[in-house]
Symmetry: C2
Subunit: 159 residues, 2 copies
DNA sequence: GGTAGACTACTCGGATACCGTGTGTCCGAGTCCTCGCGG
DNA sequence: CCGCGAGGACTCGGACACACGGTATCCGAGTAGTCTACC
C-alpha cells in the first residue's frame, strides 16, 4: 500500500501557490523548477487538482494555475483525494458471499466485521487529514520560518 | 493508493484459523476453498503471515497453518503489516531539499510540515487497527451469528 | 498616430509509451503416513 | 504377531510468468501579447 509521489508534489505546490502573489497564475514549469521535478508530469497532477476544483487553470502567456479557494477552505484531504482518487484503500471484495452461509442479498461492505474495522480506521485517517487546511500548514511553516512567503515570491520572480 | 486484496483474505483466514479445532493445522487449500480463492496465491499470503510470526506452518500430511499466538494477542494491524509491509503509505521524498533554503543535513521526514501531517494521519490509522484484536472481531461476529464457530469447524471437516 | 489584423510565443490538456509492483501459477524440498517384508 | 524400512502422498516454500496501475514524455488546441501594415 503506497500512495503516489504526486501527493507530496501537489501538497507542496499548493502551499507555494498559496504564498504566490494574489491573483498571479503560476505555470507548471515554475512550480516544477522549484523542486527540480519533471514539469510535464507535475502538470498532470495539477490537472487532477483542477478537475477537483482545488485550483483553476488558465492557458496562454501569463497563464498557469492558482488556488480556486482560500487556503482556509482547502483541506489536506481534498488534495490527497484529488490525486489518489476517492476510493478507499481497503477494497472489500465481499468474499463472505462465497463462503458458507453467504447470502447474495447482503451488502458485506456494511455487514462484514472485517470491512467495518478497516473502514473505521480509514475514517480516522480521513478525519485527521480533513482537520488540517492549507492555512494551518502555512501557519506552522511561517511560525518556524517567517521569511518563507517572501522567499517563495522572490523565487517565482527569478524563474 | 490501494492495498492488496491479500489483506482481506488474510484477515478472514486468520479468523477461520481462530475458530478451527485447537491444535489443528489447516492447509492452505482448505482455507482457499472456504471462499473459492486461488489456493497457491493464498498460500503466498500465508507465508507472509508465517514470516511475521502470526501463524506457524507445518509441512507434510496433516500439515498446514495454525495461529502462533492467542487471538487476543494478534491485532488487525499485525496482519495488515505482515501482508502490506511495514513502510508507510506516504513516502516523503524530501523534495524540500532541492528547494530554496534546502539543507543537506536536515531530515525533512521529521521537519517537513507536510510529512508531519501525513505521518500523524497514518498514526491515527495504525492506532485504530492496533486497538482491534482477532478476539475482538471474533466476539463481534459471534454475538451476531453464534453458530459461526461450529459451522466453520464443520466446513473444515467437510473439505 | 491610432487601429485592426495576423503572427508568434506560451501554457494547458489529453493521448501515448515505459516501468515497477501486485497478481497468479508452477514445480521442487521436506515430512508424515502407510503398506509390505522380515524376524 | 510385531518391528523395521521403503515408498508414496501431501504440504509448504520459493522461483517463475503475466497484467495492471503509476510514472514519464510528447505533441496538439487554445489564448494572450506583440508586431506590422494600413487608414
Amino acid at each position: 500500500m503506497q500512495m503516489g509521489e504526486g501527493v507530496e508534489w501537489a501538497l507542496h505546490s499548493c502551499l507555494n501557490l498559496a504564498w504566490a502573489e494574489p491573483g498571479e497564475a503560476v505555470p507548471a514549469a515554475k512550480l516544477a523548477a522549484f523542486y527540480d521535478l519533471p514539469a510535464a508530469y507535475l502538470n498532470k497532477q495539477l490537472q487532477a487538482l483542477a478537475r477537483a476544483g482545488i485550483v483553476t487553470s488558465v492557458s496562454g502567456p501569463r497563464g498557469g494555475f492558482r488556488l480556486a479557494r482560500a487556503p482556509e477552505e482547502i483541506t489536506v484531504l481534498d488534495v490527497v483525494t484529488a490525486i489518489e482518487g476517492p476510493q478507499e484503500a481497503f477494497r472489500c471484495q465481499e468474499i463472505l458471499r462465497r463462503g458458507p452461509g453467504g447470502s447474495e442479498s447482503v451488502d458485506y461492505r456494511k455487514a462484514c466485521v472485517v470491512s467495518q474495522t478497516m473502514r473505521g480506521a480509514e475514517l480516522a485517517w480521513r478525519k485527521e487529514l480533513a482537520g488540517q487546511t492549507l492555512a494551518d500548514l502555512q501557519a506552522r511553516v511561517e511560525s518556524r520560518s517567517p521569511r518563507t512567503p517572501a522567499m517563495t515570491r522572490q523565487r517565482f520572480g527569478e524563474l
